[in-house]
Amino acid sequence: MSQRNRLGTGGRIDRTRPLSFNFNGVSLQGFAGDTLASALLANGVDVVNRSFKYARPRGVMAAGADEPNAIVQLGSTEAGQVPNVRATQQALYNGLVAKSTNGWPNVDRDVMGLLGSLGGQFMPPGFYYKTFMTPASAWPKYEQYIRKAAGLGRSPVESDPDIYDHMNHHCDVLIVGAGPSGLAAALAAGRSGARVILCDEQEEMGGSLLDSRESIDGSPAAEWVATVLAELATLPDVLLLARTTANGYHDHNFVTLHERRTEHLADLAPQANGRRQSRARMHKVRAKRVVLATGALERPLVYGRNDVPGNMLAGAVSTFIRRYGVIPGKTLVLSTTNDHGYRAALDWHDAGRTVVAIVDARDKPDGDLVAAARSRNIRVISGSAVIEAQGKKRVTSAVVAAIDIEGFRVMGSTQELGCDTIASSGGYSPVIHLAAHTGRRPVWREDLFGFVSGGVPGQIAAGGVNGRWSLRDALEDGFEAGARAAAEAGLNAVTVTPPAVAAVREGKAVALYEVPHTKPTMRAPKQFVDQQNDVTAAGIELATREGFESIEHVKRYTGLGFGTDQGKLGNINGMAIAARVTKQTIPETGTTVFRPNYTPIAFGAIAGRHCDELFDPRRYTALHASHLERGAKFEEVGQWMRPWYFPRGTESMHDAVQRECRAVREGVGMLDASTLGKIEIQGKDAREFLNRLYTNAWTKLEPGKCRYGLMCKDDGMVMDDGVTACLAENHFHMTTTTGGAAGVLDWMELWHQTEWPELEVYFNSTTDNWVAMTITGPKARKLLAEVADIDVSAEAFPYMDWREAKVAGVPARIFRISFTGELSYEINVQANYAMHVCKALFEKGAKYDLTPYGTETMHVLRAEKGFVIIGQETDGSVTPEDLGMQWCVGYKKPYSWIGRRALSRPDTRRTDRKQLVGLKPLDPKVVLQEGAQIVLEKEIKIPMPMYGHVTSSYFSPVLGHGFALALLKGGSERMGQTVYLSSGDGSLHAAEVVSPVFYDPKGTRHHV
């Protein structure tokens, strides 16, 4: 197909660079500088898609972000698929492949369209709420068909190979929109020395100036654009971002800009200079001042069958002709309420094609543009409007009638004007989205027939967004805004003299939204308000009839504004219709609420590089290489990767864990305990602070000694635990759980800074500074003696002491503490010596068969001893007494430490609270399921009272049977009872309630 609608000259396309692309399987040609929409129009493609609900044929209606219809599926490969691309915003590139998102078997002949035209009348707004209810069992089937019929494009089913990045900026002035006002503002702010970011969503900057009929300083407007951009490029602190949409305005002048870096080049981001480049970039800008120069969007008129391809916005017609050299038809009828719309007819006429008539809703149109049309002998029909379009897949004629706007009625007879294109202009709606994202309500301006910004602190609106439509006003407003923004950002603003622009005499516009039809709205041919969601004027009227009177109700009931264009064209018309029907004014009907995004953005762009490995960076201990060498399997604990177990050969996890357990009980094992949180505490009140923080007493802990401590929140529930060592009178080394480390440090800072600022105490996290290697087992002392330079005898180095020493020649702190119940030493060395010391331990340990073990074995060993793990035995609803740890609660401490008062609340005093117990399955082979619920009856009867649950459960090689820890209601009173454990698989196991300390209850083994 040749480009039959391409004009011989004109436009900003590069005719020396033809591009091939494919639409719905047909190969077509366009030029560099085209959008997909302009290229489709150039090739005479009328039907680009089918509508969402009624499957009606739809074509290109607008030229930018406001396009509701021309939505396509983009992508030549599976991984490169992008759903719902707006053809008017997609730059053409060689090899572009696009498809209509709807239409079966194809967009021209669509079965659903037949259903839509036959059944459309049975699908008023909300029809699905009123039916599909009987029989109730059929709903899933109905729903399946509804789902299949819905949606536009499709998701790719392969992972995205592209990358996206983020960039942070601080600037003095961010200017959104590079039309006349934005460029003027940038110039004023830039010359004032401000740090400026100027962004614009289009492929090139210039906005309306790129297709303007007007001159600036006697030259075509586009030349002024080039001059300004050239100057801005020379200013060192001005950043120009084309193809960049300010999609969200957030609190305190934080704006997210989405820059499309490669979408104009190819499906997948091509390499640049041999390197991978990002497909898109989010600029996160904190601006001292934001200038909104976002202009205004033209409103279409709402008339019968205004969705048939060939119905377009007047401004879009001009844009396609002047910017892309494409004329979207042969014969034009223009329906307008204002002078601006006339430009479409003038451009059409000047391109050498026929303007059948200009239909002006005003009784006495008057203005320079009207005069220009008359001077070209274009027929102007005043006091009238197009009330209906004819044609199925393309407009064939326009039905025109005189109208009484006030009385909302057609006067006299209608006439039918043959044409293939109907352009309409109902005035302009300022693009105030970014002024409304933070919740500020827009304000209706009756003189503009539009909403303007309600005023946002730090934001300055300029030009069309302020209702300053004329070029002269827009420039003037822009210069002022730029200077003001610079001044408010603290700079000496310079005054720029605006360039010369001829004044255009403009007639007054009239307000017209829905055009009256000869039939009442409910019976007239469908008058579309929101074309993407197939919302009609009748639908809005029906909604109000059913009681949906607020605009928010109307929107939700009809779907108005919920499309991917978010109602850029339809919202105001819809509100006006709702207002008319409910006999209210537009502001009484409500204001529109805008939400980010202005236009849709790929999830990937918002996620940025924080995916895969960088989603949440893993932490590895300094011994990781050693673990890998020894074949560790890893477990995620918090962000840490901890060795889970160390299988030898083809050993199963169970076998490995049993072997590791036996090694510790009989020989010596080694655990990497580096991930435990470590906090240095110093200051003369350090001891007092610990007394208040921990449930137990710290007054008498001498230097060289260690003590286990338990921490509660002030509600009395256990939050963390660990061993703290006294390094010196005013100096302590605290350990916390792995997952709790950061939270505990914050917690300590909170209490110190806000509750007890009088205490002289300082905290510092040293988690990453130390590596901790636990050697544990009966042979641990022998091994330690071989590597440490101190007397490690039981007398010289007793249990719960710590010593400074050199281990393998390296300074170390050795803590004689035990989480296994065996003789244990936790050797702490500076992290950068870790591998050296580890190597020495394994060298010396070889003769003792030093066995590395992981978290699973650690869990088994500690559970055999009844030692709890915070977060496994506790869940935020467990007190120290529930854990049977009264021995660790210092009721006699003078200060009411954190959590103490809560332990005497009515609920914490209850005796039937869930308490920690041991469970011994009656069948010794059984390992109870962790998470199994405890019941007291053997027969399962649903619903069944539950008395607690299994928190930890393992098979113990030293005991020779399965065992578990559990929280059980009134557990301390149930020793010896038999309870039953119910698992999801329906199994029920009997177990005896026993002490949670299964192994060495007297604690003799670690005391040797």
């Binding site: 609190d251 904190r286 806000t754 509750e755 008062r901 609340r905 009515p906």
Partner: protein, 107 residues
């Protein structure tokens, strides 16, 4: 995203550096053991939660690691002042000209 002035660092930083810690100026009963269950419950859990001016505690978690207080409008999210622990706010619902302190600007 809020832009928060840290009174310790003496500059504005991005919200991502901070953590909100809820209502400020909550006094722990000075004699917990003689406080009633009701007092203790109130201290632990009951909050003003105002629609309008709120004095709240923030933590410069990945900055200076210090706590401070913020007077913020919970509807407009405007920050009216920040001040150090132990200090009292200058801007209060009463001092704010009896304006839309508790009703908020937006419905």
């Amino acid at each position: 995203m809020l832009h928060i002035y840290c009174p310790h660092c003496d500059e504005h930083r991005e919200e991502e550096e901070f953590r909100s810690k809820g209502e400020a100026h909550i006094a722990r009963p000075p004699e917990p053991e003689s406080a009633s269950d009701e007092d203790w419950g109130n201290y632990l859990f009951f909050r003003k939660n105002p629609r309008g001016l709120h004095h709240e505690q923030w933590f410069h978690a990945v900055g200076c690691r210090k706590f401070f207080n913020v007077t913020r409008d919970t509807v407009s999210y405007e920050i009216l002042e920040t001040y150090k622990p132990g200090q009292q706010p200058v801007v209060t619902a009463e001092s704010r000209n009896g304006s839309a302190s508790d009703k908020g600007a937006a419905k």
